[in-house]
Subunit: 353 residues, 3 copies
Amino acid sequence: MPKVKAAVGVIDTLLRGVGQVMLQNNPMTGLLFLVGIFLNSHEYGLTALLGLVVATLAAAYLLGADQTLIRNGRFGFNGVLTGITLSVFLQWDWHVAIYIILGAIVSSIVAIVSTIVMMGLAKLLIDWDMASLTAPFVLTAWLLLFALYQFGQLHPTKLIHPMLVRPGATIQTGLQEAAGGGAVGLTAVNLANALFRGVGEVFLQDNLSTGVVFVIAILVNSRTCGAFALLGSALGGLTALVLGGDGVAIYHGLYGFNAVLTGIALGGLFLVLKWRSTIYALIGVIFSAIVFAAIVVALAPIGMPAHPPFVLTTWVFLLPMAGFRALERVSVAECASTSSLVRLRTPELTRAE
Amino acid sequence: MPKVKAAVGVIDTLLRGVGQVMLQNNPMTGLLFLVGIFLNSHEYGLTALLGLVVATLAAAYLLGADQTLIRNGRFGFNGVLTGITLSVFLQWDWHVAIYIILGAIVSSIVAIVSTIVMMGLAKLLIDWDMASLTAPFVLTAWLLLFALYQFGQLHPTKLIHPMLVRPGATIQTGLQEAAGGGAVGLTAVNLANALFRGVGEVFLQDNLSTGVVFVIAILVNSRTCGAFALLGSALGGLTALVLGGDGVAIYHGLYGFNAVLTGIALGGLFLVLKWRSTIYALIGVIFSAIVFAAIVVALAPIGMPAHPPFVLTTWVFLLPMAGFRALERVSVAECASTSSLVRLRTPELTRAE
Amino acid sequence: MPKVKAAVGVIDTLLRGVGQVMLQNNPMTGLLFLVGIFLNSHEYGLTALLGLVVATLAAAYLLGADQTLIRNGRFGFNGVLTGITLSVFLQWDWHVAIYIILGAIVSSIVAIVSTIVMMGLAKLLIDWDMASLTAPFVLTAWLLLFALYQFGQLHPTKLIHPMLVRPGATIQTGLQEAAGGGAVGLTAVNLANALFRGVGEVFLQDNLSTGVVFVIAILVNSRTCGAFALLGSALGGLTALVLGGDGVAIYHGLYGFNAVLTGIALGGLFLVLKWRSTIYALIGVIFSAIVFAAIVVALAPIGMPAHPPFVLTTWVFLLPMAGFRALERVSVAECASTSSLVRLRTPELTRAE
């Protein structure tokens, strides 16, 4: 039944695209991520699917991109994030659908640009592949969101609020659900929320249960990655607590998600863990929480979200490996094999199933 | 008469410099562009000439740059744009003349930097030449304009107006000449203005007749480029209309000029047109209008103009060609031969005339 | 006495780290720089030392970086600047100490990134080494400072003041110590302050005597560098005076420090001086004062300091050398030998002392 096989191949490709948002090349992980998103919101789930399908189709049919990259979900994941992000920050409308379709196509084009540039850099600087991570999503989503102030048909949600920074402003640092709401302080409930919402926010899902499902989804693929996701979320939130970050932001996982991805990338995937590289990964995770705060400030005058850029910290911390005797990098091939379903990756093996 | 020949060579070089603003390596096109600018304003025409001459002289005598690049006007065009831009956004004064001279020299230095970086990237990433486009102008003009707030001797014109973005602000979307002035809506006059001013704004010339002369100037060199210039202006404006952009901005061609250049670059010059690459070019043109809006917003807090950066879209859309089976790129040599006067290019042939 | 020798080696390494802030690979220069800083403020001196030691230790023990680079102080100087900058713009507190330690470590990581990228670019674009200058400090310090608005435990000093730019704002252009204080105008005292504070501000030291000590410190290593430091400070201030810059800012050397470093780099170190390259270096110095003003404006909405970025001008002006027949570059080896104490550089020679 070649049709069934083809359909399985397509679904496998799409689910890997969802999994790749957290660098997990595994369709089961991708499926659980989708479950987690729908658990939080049908709208976000549907826009994630729209972005996923359009970005993948654009790569395959409009752009004629490399088949192996497509099958590993390397185009889908930027579309997923672009779709969710535009629906989180814009009120739903058919203009938003057009915007997502355009954004998903452009994100695939930018993904190819990134792949070429990264391959070039890899050849030049270092002898291993440097992932472009979510950079295509970051560039595309930011440009599309910035533009919304100029377009009367696009209506921002309440999450978009420009603000003038004031050096003397008081920051409320009590960990809590909302300004003036819920128990305040380091209670078990508050800490659990900060921890799991931090994982959920990687997909912009501000929801405790979704975060729990996401952690399970990562554990299905790799225990190391799951552990570093939780460690990242915890350490990101802790950094903000120590430095006196806003308690509501910490509760909702905003200091966590960047640290989650940095933790997975540095701790779980790309570095061989010894004592030096573990310290190195932890410094990267702490710094990623500060980078998040810095980008919030940089974008405050136009009120744009700082969700995108974990890529900055990860790139900065991955590049030096060529120059550090103390660090050793996992080759990408080994990384990939952390996936228990990696045998599905090549076309031949997919067909063989 | 070697003196006459030398003078012809110099004038040829300078006129090509004007033509290169729209990627047209043709002295007749450059001459008509100049006519169009003087038609709109003697001041802008003179500052364009000042920038043109200084940038070309700096490249030839101070920097000793490559003769062939100089003769093809590859240094002059950044000077032209720097000169016009500084005179559009600053009130005329002898300080502005110094500023333009400095800016034109620096733009030639940056042009050499760009050429070197692009040649390096070309060697590394791709096997063809990647144009640096107007990037040198963008960097130079932005730095010089940003600085004006710090300098009491430089007085901005009314076009510089910082503004705080507000998510709920109403945008008037009726196509019209001015807020509260002229017929409102999709009238033939309004549409013609949007279309041709979009071409005029490439040189920052907000003038219907100038736009018409510019279109003729491009057609003199290449019918394909002329068609894509008009198509770009139309599609850029249409994108803004559909998304609810400001009607006055659309009327004055502000959504057009970026799209014009992107259209010429992607549709007219660098891609072999088949159905896939045509869709690709059109997506690039649509996206360039959104990028314009995004940069307006990013610069709104300091009130700086978003005129410069069509380069961003074009680079992003040109780079992937190495990775797309579906796209085929025109070699730069072929591109150049779209110019009917290309025989003037090499020193020997110039002398032979 | 191997212990004494080791201690001398460590001190030599640390002092070179201070000297490298102004590209002077000379421990005596570094020592005098430290004297100048302590002369102005014990707090800044101590935070400079904290940053210096942490950045150097991180490079040596955590990151296992190249020994020769470490011994030449190539990691220490970014730590010095990070330490001083964070203590200048944040009120002292144990959180600031943590912040400086984190910043110093990250600056060393970024320094390794820069070195790798620059070596790659050097291989690709040009056949000589391109210095990463203070780029690691710039990136690290900006991110750490931007973030302070989000953290209640970090309290900015009065030097941090966001401001909305206004095109019509009057700028007081009289050279003077403070708004409404001291003699106004081009008096000898005011000019001397502008000149020497310009050199002092390279280390963010707004102090006349410190500036004088710094000039002596540079002259100890190289008369050419000392002359270009003074010329840079003078020309930077003069550019601002001609264009009508704020007289208080000029008095306190804010238009000087960028120009000082650009002058040392272009005039003193990297270019063989002939008439063309001298003009070229002077244009670079003038432009660096304008770049400073541009970055002040770009960061005005969030009130962040524009101290960091002389690197931009210097990179832009150094890169073209590969393409300019008129310019000739000093090789890095020759540069280094401008240091009279260069024999201390290699491990063997250090031990031999």
